[in-house]
Symmetry: C3
Amino acid sequence: MDTITIGVVTTSDRASAGIYEDVSGVAIMETLGEYLQNECEYLYRCIPDEQEMIEATLKELAKARCDLIVTTGGTGPALRDVTTEATLNVCQKILPGFGEQMRAASLRHVPTAILSRQTAGICESSLIINLPGKPQSIRECLDAVFPAVPYCIDLIGGRYMVAHEDVIEIFRPKGK
Amino acid sequence: MDTITIGVVTTSDRASAGIYEDVSGVAIMETLGEYLQNECEYLYRCIPDEQEMIEATLKELAKARCDLIVTTGGTGPALRDVTTEATLNVCQKILPGFGEQMRAASLRHVPTAILSRQTAGICESSLIINLPGKPQSIRECLDAVFPAVPYCIDLIGGRYMVAHEDVIEIFRPKGK
Amino acid sequence: MDTITIGVVTTSDRASAGIYEDVSGVAIMETLGEYLQNECEYLYRCIPDEQEMIEATLKELAKARCDLIVTTGGTGPALRDVTTEATLNVCQKILPGFGEQMRAASLRHVPTAILSRQTAGICESSLIINLPGKPQSIRECLDAVFPAVPYCIDLIGGRYMVAHEDVIEIFRPKGK
């Protein structure tokens, strides 16, 4: 079974300054650990909400051949929320269905879900997915899109993910 | 209680030429008046479907420190429909969840809702929202997105909106 | 009754090389033939997944005054999937509601529907719609958006479509 390389990027001025602990980055690694049977190598970065630094970090993780890069934070409408812009800038392809689906999932809980600008895209041969900053929303967004993630990574030439099907039901079209 | 500054921009070749009355701009002010307990100062503009003029008007209203700028008209597929382009051009951030949610709301009434290119975004410290041109669709679109508007305006540093909760249930995350 | 000019563009390295038959292009023409009472003149192109060639083909078909141009294939996340980029590049206006609606329709069948980057837009006076590559998904996507297509084509100055209302219920707003 392949070892999966996963980038986890927390963008937060306060967490990167040590003002508080990065609970969201940890929540992502826990959730992916529950989903996947594969061993996972995590490349973890906790950086401030600076667009250039986020872009450089995403590119570095793509060069390191991450199959999946997950960000948390920086997708709202505030001035310092620039993770979405960084993602749009480094990706060769944008996958708008991820943002639509994550917003639809969050909308079942809060009407302010429409304020999220989360997206996803392909950078080199990595799939980048923006997750919200709030730990409690991370699982609901990942649950909403992860069923399509392993097949997406197949299509862009990444490593083969095997899921714990009792935790998350992934999907690959038959004959593929 | 803060006085809210609201820009209302009707883009219509015919209304701006006086060929017919601008019912839509009036409908927007009536609806917002029913929603909000705050006093509202309206900066109202009725202009032709000229992209440069629309962009200049949106920028002028953002400079005038509008908390919210609402447009009506110019979001369809026809040649003279350029309000969406103007909005995309002047905004520093785009909020695709607004368009998704307004189209979903309109789709419950008419299948041609998918032709609407309505969007929303942040210009300086103003939230701009595109509404449809038809008066009867304005209320259904505003009802669909307004619950998230006051918190969005909080996040971009605008004035504090207080709603008539029996008319529209707005939402701010707890602890914020 | 107007004769409708319809461009059908299959983008597929293998189909264009004759490695397999283009079933998808045929499925599109069959479906539109069932929908429409009008006579249809089809301009059919089967080309490789080369972005420049796709853009040139879309422009040529728009110049030939197609009312509708339908593509199949090239909307996924893989390296050779570039039909979406070509469409975004040649269109003066993008209609995001089409992609949202087609993904929503496909999501009822497969969670990997969020990987589709299908969109639609206006190029000159032609409506371009991206459909998926798989023949069995073409009908479900066309069923989801076609009700809005004739009115969209009215708005951009195209020919007047008349549908078989027992096959597909199209919609034009009253008084239009």
